[in-house]
Symmetry: C2
Subunit: 478 residues, 2 copies
């Protein structure tokens, strides 16, 4: 699929004009100073830029895009540079200009009666959570990278995370946006309305468009009641096949109180026990699969522990689960969560890992994992599949660690072939090749395979309508 692009290398005059917009102290032209912004944090991509700009407000972002559009200069917006698919890194040409949103980091408004806050794109996610908590509310979006990830990037990529089950992805957490369009016009869509049926849903079109349709400069975010009571539980399962039924039971019994439902395979727990400092197995004997789930309530006295005990008893009775533990203290709860949170990083200790971020309908997760595991065994005998993640959303991080002793590079040479074969299964099961990380650069070339031609056609028509000169993040997503 040919990228939509017709940008030119920026002339010295254009670069000077761009620098003047933000002021020399907020522009970086020195290669060394630019470097940290030009490398993806897992070092999968290293790009070049003609210039790095740090605009100080929406007006400056607007002026930058107006100038870039007039001069056919490509612009790459970047938030906290925590993206996992390379969407935030310029290509190697050195013809693109990187725009950082970090100086747009104000909290513009908090409205407790409407339960919203209006914040700028450069505010780090963890700070947004903190602002909400200081006001006695919860902003539930939570990611491993929340210390660095910024609200603008989180919305541009429709980030997911741990709390999607109860609160939805980033898209569902934003009621309104302020967006600078590719020609520099500013769309003030900062509505704080739960209901607005006045025309096409432009907000949701921009969210998840990965900086290809406009640059988000501010957003109205939804706030929720703070959590007063929390129960964390872990269950051992004899087989993944019973997990969807136990999940359905948990939803039925706990409904909105069920705020997380994660799965982990035994091999993942073993990696954590081997490499995660101080982690210990919560169960006396091993189980092939584990479920980690959490019940929360904004009010005390919700008797979540009783609910959890009853749910777990039912699960054992029906054979959906084999054994269970309930955290009886904050420390125990944190220890259980640590098992899950370490699941990504401990894989490094076991050599190379080939990764997938996919979703299938919840009911089909066991079928997906069984088929993908068979495939791995056929393609790379001895490789160790480590499928884990958000079962409640059908979102599985299907990771595969190398066979012990194999050379890392030899194993990793299978990356694209394994991706292709796993994605084929995902698509056959009605799934998505990117559940929460987006498409960016990493999966762009998979789009013609993963999407119907008319879906791509619709997306490309929308891109052309919004950004006819293709200056915004060209070659990403589409």
């Amino acid at each position: 699929m040919k990228p939509l692009t017709k940008h030119k290398p920026p002339s010295p005059d254009t670069l000077d004009a761009l620098v003047r917009i933000v002021g020399a102290e907020h522009a970086i032209r020195d290669e060394e100073a630019m470097a940290p912004y030009l490398v993806e944090w897992r070092d999968r991509y290293r790009g070049k830029a003609a210039l790095v700009l740090k605009p100080g407000d929406t007006g400056e972002v607007s002026a930058i895009l107006k100038c870039a559009n007039a001069n056919r200069t490509a612009i790459v917006p970047q938030g906290g540079n925590t993206g996992l698919v390379g969407g935030q890194i310029p290509f190697e040409s050195g013809h693109e200009v990187l725009v950082l949103l970090e100086r747009l980091n104000r909290v513009r408004d908090i409205d407790l009666a409407t339960s919203t806050m209006t914040v700028e794109a450069g505010l780090p996610l963890a700070q947004a959570q903190h602002v909400a908590a200081s006001a006695g509310r919860l902003f539930p979006l939570s990611l491993a990278s929340e210390g660095s990830a910024q609200i603008g990037g989180v919305l541009a990529t429709n980030a997911g995370g741990m709390a999607v089950l109860a609160y939805g992805s980033a898209r569902e957490l934003a009621l309104g946006l302020e967006v600078v369009l590719p020609d520099g016009q500013v769309w003030d869509g900062l509505k704080s309305l739960r209901k607005d049926n006045s025309g096409y849903d432009l907000k949701d079109l921009i969210i998840g468009s990965e900086g290809t349709l406009g640059i988000i400069t501010a957003a109205v975010l939804r706030l929720f009641p703070k959590i007063a009571e929390r129960v964390t539980c872990m269950a051992g399962l004899n087989a993944l096949e019973t997990a969807p039924a136990f999940f359905a039971r948990a939803v039925e019994r706990a409904s909105a109180a069920l705020t997380a439902f994660e799965i982990m395979p035994r091999v993942g727990l073993e990696f954590v026990l081997r490499h995660g400092n101080l982690s210990r197995d919560p169960f006396p004997s091993p189980h092939p699969w584990y479920v980690l789930f959490e019940l929360t309530s904004p009010r005390e006295g919700a008797e979540l522990a009783e609910l959890a005990e009853s749910l777990l008893s039912q699960g054992v009775e029906t054979g959906e689960i084999a054994d269970a533990v309930v955290a009886s203290s904050l420390a125990q709860s944190a220890a259980l969560w640590r098992l899950r949170e370490l699941m990504s990083e401990v894989q490094k200790e076991e050599g190379g890992s080939i990764k997938h971020d996919v979703a299938v309908p919840v009911a089909r997760v066991p079928e997906f994992v069984a088929r993908a595991n068979r495939l791995v065994e056929l393609m790379i005998p001895g490789a160790r599949p480590l499928p884990f993640g958000h079962l409640g959303d059908g979102n599985i991080h299907y990771n595969v660690s190398q066979p012990p002793g194999m050379e890392r590079a030899v194993f990793l040479a299978n990356w694209e072939a394994l991706n292709a074969a796993v994605h084929e299964i995902v698509l056959d099961l009605g799934g998505s090749i990117s559940a929460e990380h987006g498409i960016g650069r990493l999966k762009r070339d998979l789009m013609p395979h993963a999407k119907q031609p008319l879906e791509l056609d619709m997306m490309r028509k929308i891109k052309a309508a919004f950004d006819p000169n293709f200056i915004l993040n060209p070659g990403k997503l589409l």
Copy 2:
């Protein structure tokens, strides 16, 4: 704003070709037989059609649009004909062809583990609710017109209703769509994924586009646990000003268990008491405002009654509410809801009524009502404002009944002027001129006033990209 249209009167050959697609027994050419489909149910619009077609499956809808697109024939899709803004009624030219979805009414699939059902566009909403209930689940969307309204229309207009507070509008309840595009291509977007970050959000663009971008033929809908416990409460308030604080308290205490939060003014209750058979005032003395709210839980033993009592006590202590009743039986609960449900129809008994379906941020509802009431008193002294609706969503049905004794037609002559003035206040408060009914024909001419030029420009570009011949529901919404 000039409508986007370039359709032609259909030739006899085109009409014959269209009839052949569905078969003569599913086409109506007789004016009398067409009549019921050509009048809006409140008789605000009466249109004409060259032909009415009842396709039997997605393939026939596709063939109709392919033919219509090739011949520049305008197509108006219609569901249950319950829309409130005339979007489903053809214009008076008689050049348009009406397409009814009623024969696409199958339930294609129910997936309990994934908590979804796949149904066709013509299935009435009440039947969809029934299908879910028969499977032990809840499909929460609920509207006054649910017996006739069809899933396709409900999604095309992003319908709201009583349960938006807890479950969201139609958009949030659909995970995937099957859509016939204006050129007849069928988009199979029937995903049942909670998370899918693979490109632009086409689903949400189609939902709420009022049949101007494509015809929805099927959808994957989310299911929720059935409700096991329910408590209905009504509170009397001394002033509307305290309602947002009491709402915030209710959210804080009950969170997702708060599934409805409605307001009604005293005059509305008086109308109901006067004209609603058997209705009686639940309170010993009158209050200027009332709140009707409901707590629900999917599990028994959630102690909602205790929660409600405690919440109401706090409300009385803080002065947010003056008095309260808790329904202690299903019959009492139904009687309280009847007060709210009759609020629309009893207005007819009091003469003419000028209506608005608007939303403002929750915190600004009292300010909106105060300003609008002052305006009404200035413009039409003696007229009786009856603002009621979904306070929890900021969605107020700002209705105004005529002054007693005034001639109905004289009062109604103020419709457009009052609309314009009320909408001005709504927009000043960051609100929407259509919270849940949509734009259709009724509010199309208000769009240039209500939207920023660049919003309209983006919408018109999207329309042109999807439907370059402007054959789908021309002159509606845009």
